[in-house]
């Protein structure tokens, strides 16, 4: 099967670079699967996990905190403010973050704070889910 280069970059440096056969991501409009030779496309991503199917049948999973995906026929780039490979996720930290966010949601402060806490909660839950292997 034809492969395509995938780059996942964050402001803190590149996180992932590999040849894959298919990229499966959750965009704001719904799930997409991208193969090599796709027409150029840009789409924003949800706080979610990106699945990368490799030629040898294995799958890598990377969590992204939003951002967007840029597709070209020979190259796919994912730009996110943070991203982690599933095996590098610090579960203890994610659980801490989850607790903090939940506590903040309980207090019910201003709109902005609530939105921010919700986003933080979504990120934490996303990390935990991916690490535990159920996406």
């Amino acid at each position: 099967m034809k492969t395509v280069t995938v780059n996942i970059v964050t402001p803190d440096g590149p996180v992932y670079e590999n040849e894959v056969t298919m990229v499966i991501a959750k965009t704001a409009a719904g799930d997409i699967g991208v193969l090599a030779g796709h027409v150029p496309m840009v789409a924003p991503l949800k706080i979610s996990a990106v699945k990368l199917n490799k030629a040898d049948g294995k799958t890598d999973v990377v969590t992204v905190s939003g951002g967007f995906v840029e597709v070209r026929p020979d190259k796919i780039s994912i730009l996110a403010s943070s991203a982690e490979l599933a095996e590098n996720i610090d579960v203890a930290r994610a659980k801490e973050a989850q607790k903090r966010a939940e506590a903040r949601l309980q207090q019910k402060q201003s709109d902005i704070d609530t939105k921010r806490a919700e986003a933080a909660l979504a990120r934490a839950v996303n990390r935990i889910k991916v690490q535990e292997g159920n996406i």
Binding site: D12, F68, S81
Partner: protein, 284 residues
């Protein structure tokens, strides 16, 4: 006669100062290396984001509040400085530039607000009673994106909700290990987006407007982060140079003082001999 012990004391105290400045120089030079690495790790991200922004904003006719200039009622200045001093003219040259621009552009303090990064910057503006609406102090030497996210998001958010109508960013650009230059950048509205280098015409999912909605804030935030990394590298190099100069000065002072010390010691010996000879001559 110059007091020998006094000179000796000054030599010793200069020597211990030299030790400190030398240690700080070495610390700064290793931090500079790390900061340069961070700045390098960031480049691919920036280039990609810039590419995509240029491709979308340059290729289509969509408009977005962050792309359009509006009548300016209030201006914001985002000033990126450091928490600690002893870095030569690092902070003072930025602050001087900001102050000069403010003085030439505005007549009253209601016309602008300050967003301060770094204790030195905040203290300067707070002391002079400027309107500081956001501040970040105590950033680590190797900041990660998460450290700056909050102020970056606030800076972009306050532009969107109309708290101010334009945003300038001031930071020291890292030219080389011995040179930094104060750089001013008009961050918002984003009017100077470079035309696309790639001719790829993208399909937008769901629409170009929806993508700009998430893309532009991310772009502006990453510009701020890039400037911060640049500024940090400059800070370490400025401190390294300042400490190198201090170490060199201490060396000069020590050599001057040692010369003085030896002269005084020689003079004391000569005088003693003269006295002995004089005393012996008087006995004969």
């Amino acid at each position: 006669m110059v007091n020998l012990r006094e000179i000796k004391g000054r030599i010793n105290s200069t020597k211990s100062t030299q030790k400190t400045t030398k240690a700080m120089q070495m610390v700064s030079s290793s931090k500079l290396r790390r900061a340069e690495q961070n700045a390098k790790a960031y480049v691919p991200y920036m280039e990609k984001v810039q590419d995509v922004v240029a491709a979308i904003a340059g290729g289509t006719t969509v408009s977005h509040p962050m792309l359009t200039a509006r009548p300016v009622k209030k201006t914001a200045y985002l000033v990126l400085g450091s928490d600690r001093g002893l870095a030569g003219a690092y902070n003072s040259s930025i602050l001087r530039q900001v102050q000069r621009d403010i003085d030439s552009r505005h007549r009253s303090k209601d016309e602008y607000v300050i967003l301060a990064v770094g204790r030195k910057v905040r203290d300067y503006f707070v002391k002079r009673d400027h309107n500081v609406i956001a501040e970040v102090v105590g950033l680590p030497d190797q900041p990660s994106f998460a450290d700056i996210k909050e102020i970056a998001r606030n800076a972009v958010g306050m532009f969107t909700d109309g708290t101010y109508d334009e945003l300038y960013m001031y930071y020291n650009h890292f030219v080389s290990a011995i040179a930094q230059e104060v750089t001013t950048k008009k961050l918002l509205p984003l009017t100077d987006i470079a035309p696309a280098s790639t001719t790829a015409s993208y399909e937008f999912e769901p629409s170009a407007e929806a993508i700009l909605e998430t893309l532009l804030p991310q772009y502006a935030e990453s510009l701020i982060y890039g400037a911060l990394l640049d500024g940090k590298a400059s800070e370490h190099s400025a401190r390294m140079t300042a400490m190198k100069n201090a170490t060199d000065n201490a060396k000069d002072i020590i050599s001057d003082l040692s010369l003085q010390y030896n002269r005084a010691r020689q003079a004391a010996i000569t005088q003693e001999i003269t006295e002995i000879v004089g005393g012996a001559a008087a006995l004969e």
